[in-house]
């Protein structure tokens, strides 16, 4: 479980705690850019780890270092309010005695001239979808509204790092999608790194750059999202939900109207697209269950994509009736296909065989 020392890690922490029967023993190396996701079953210690990083958990001992600053080491301890991070806990902890805008000002006032504070409030309230709630007392918000206010407030404190504990679980899917996009924008455009706890694979796929899997208080070394999605054994996926995730560059060449051509080695994947060509990589998710394998190039269908694939191995899935085919694209990326045992027999699949993987592709974000 030892990570090799990671030189581009911004936030490094070794955390130990022992609470009743529960043992925490983490070694975290969180990079300076992008969104890291902490993933694990209920009770695995995710919230405890976040609190410890935020400087709120005296029961957790260990070493925490942020860039050059030592936040925790032995008896040395930088208190939470000096760490300039924002921590969002599982329940929106709004201040009852202030209205929504008072709550926002509480965070915004601190690091900005009051003018730019007001400007920020308007802007962030807009993106968090709470502009219409600014004068509302917090006791009169719905669960999801409160959660959005809390997120907005955390962003307004201008943190150097964001620690988010299931921030989106009370939101409807539209709001969740919008906030996922906001988080990604913050992570890339404003270079705000963050650590996000979530149970939702959907959120992991949408926002994660790295994934750290926690099991019963211990973590595995961090994986890139693609690695994590491709690892059948880390419990990230719901049973049968293994998927490949690719960040692919759009190619300038347009083969058809309304289709965007994404380059994957010498092959291409087409996704439905309208509007200008995106200037950053597009994230694709191709679930194992969405992939159909063909012995030879299939005839015309509405499924627009077909990649040559070399079967690497065939393993048992979590569902005893299913088999999982792990294959490699021509540029070496892994792709998965979930097929029935019946199909395996009919196709007479073996390792090393060349097949065609047919799938529909839709961008995640």
């Amino acid at each position: 479980m030892q990570n090799p020392p990671d030189n581009d890690a911004l936030l490094r922490a070794r955390l130990q705690a022992s609470l009743g029967a529960f043992q925490l023993d983490l070694n975290l190396q969180l990079p300076a850019r992008g969104i890291s996701v902490l993933f694990g079953a209920s009770g695995a210690g995710k919230s405890l780890a976040l609190r410890a990083l935020a400087g709120l958990e005296p029961r957790v001992s260990g070493d925490v270092q942020f860039a050059d600053e030592v936040w925790q080491r032995g008896r040395h301890w930088v208190p939470a309010h000096r760490r300039r991070i924002a921590w969002l806990c599982q329940r929106a902890q709004l201040f009852d005695h202030l209205d929504v805008s008072g709550n926002l000002r509480f965070a915004a006032g601190r690091h900005a001239a009051s003018d730019s504070g007001e400007v920020d409030i308007g802007r962030y309230a807009e993106v968090c979808g709470i502009s219409h709630l600014l004068s509302r007392r917090v006791g009169r918000l719905s669960g999801g509204e409160a959660q959005r206010v809390a997120l907005c407030r955390a962003l307004l404190s201008r943190p150097r790092y964001l620690l988010l504990d299931e921030p989106l679980s009370a939101l409807d899917s539209a709001a969740r999608l919008a906030l996922c996009q906001l988080l990604r924008r913050l992570a890339s455009d404003e270079a705000l790194p963050m650590l996000l706890v979530t149970h939702s694979l959907d959120e992991v796929e949408r926002v994660a750059d790295q994934v750290i899997v926690l099991t019963a208080g211990r973590n595995q070394p961090r994986l890139s999202l693609a690695e994590a999605m491709a690892a059948p054994d880390i419990g990230l996926q719901a049973p049968g939900e293994l998927a490949a995730v690719f960040d692919l560059e759009a190619s300038a060449q347009q083969d058809e109207p309304d289709l965007l051509r994404l380059q994957i080695g010498q092959d291409a994947i087409h996704i439905p697209w309208r509007g200008p060509r995106p200037d950053r990589a597009v994230r694709l998710r191709i679930a194992a269950r969405d992939v159909t394998l063909w012995p030879q190039l299939p005839p015309l269908s509405s499924a627009q994509n077909c990649l040559p694939l070399q079967v690497e191995r065939i393993v048992d899935g979590t569902n005893p009736a299913m088999r999982l085919v792990i294959g490699r694209c021509r540029d070496g990326r892994r792709l998965f296909a979930r097929i029935t045992r019946a199909a395996e027999r009919q196709l007479q699949l073996t390792a090393g065989q060349s097949v065609f993987a047919q799938f529909k592709a839709v961008a995640l974000l």
Binding site: P79, A80, H81, C89, A107, R110
Partner: protein, 232 residues
């Protein structure tokens, strides 16, 4: 029957003034003190908490007796005060104020402690993670959310001072306009068989009390309605 004589007026004014200044000073003193006791991390807190609670269990006569010894010109505090040119502390309003504050200290601290302690920990953690240091957390989160506790503390110490009798009897000396508060005046009237005066003074106190209490209740109710919207 209902009007008050000038002497009685001065007793009433004195009483209110004493109660108000005691309450005001106590709140100024006890809010930070209780904050530290409830939320601080120092080891000596437990000790200090016991010390602060001590006047609770000391009868006013004990307090008065020792104050008399301490504050008198031969007592250490009295000598210090004299050295500072503060004038005599016994048989004076200043002395009463000191006595009342000591006497009512735990009645101000206790509700504040209860209030501050009932603060949800995660709320304070959130405030800290938003960059608010301990002092700011206390004044911008804990204190505003503890308004009922502050109100209770003020009410209890105001009331306790109004009702103070033993300490005043011991260190006040019943000086008209200086230390003859209502409780003493009523006591005097009763002992002198002047029941009419006793009734009159009591009626005034009662009336004042009702007004104060009703005002506080209205305040509270309005507060609640504004905050929760769900009171009925």
């Amino acid at each position: 029957m209902i009007g008050l004589s000038p002497a009685e007026w001065s007793a009433l004014k004195l009483t209110l003034w004493l109660a108000l200044s005691t309450t005001g000073l106590l709140l100024l003193l006890c809010i930070p003190l209780a904050g530290w006791l409830a939320l601080g991390r120092s080891r000596v807190r437990a000790m200090v908490e016991v010390l602060v609670a001590l006047p609770l269990v000391l009868p006013p006569t004990v307090l008065g007796f020792y104050l008399l010894l301490l504050l008198g010109p031969r007592g250490p505090v009295g000598q210090a005060a004299a050295a500072l040119g503060l004038g005599p502390l016994v048989f004076s309003f200043k002395g009463l104020l000191i006595g009342s504050m000591l006497y009512s200290l735990p009645f101000a601290v206790q509700p504040l402690l209860d209030g501050f302690r009932s603060m949800r920990r995660e709320l304070l953690d959130t405030a800290a993670s938003l960059g608010a240091g301990p002092i700011e957390r206390f004044f911008r989160v804990v204190l505003p959310l503890s308004r009922p506790a502050v109100l209770s503390a003020a009410l209890l110490s105001f009331a306790h001072t109004l009702g103070e009798f033993g300490v005043v009897l011991m260190i006040g000396g019943n000086i008209a306009g200086e230390t003859r508060v209502m409780s003493i005046a009523i006591y005097d009237a009763v002992e002198a068989f002047d029941f009419a005066e006793a009734h009159r003074l009591s009626a005034w106190l009662l009336g004042l009390a009702m007004v104060c209490l009703l005002a506080i209740q209205t305040l509270r109710r309005r507060q609640q309605a504004r905050d929760g919207g769900t009171d009925q």
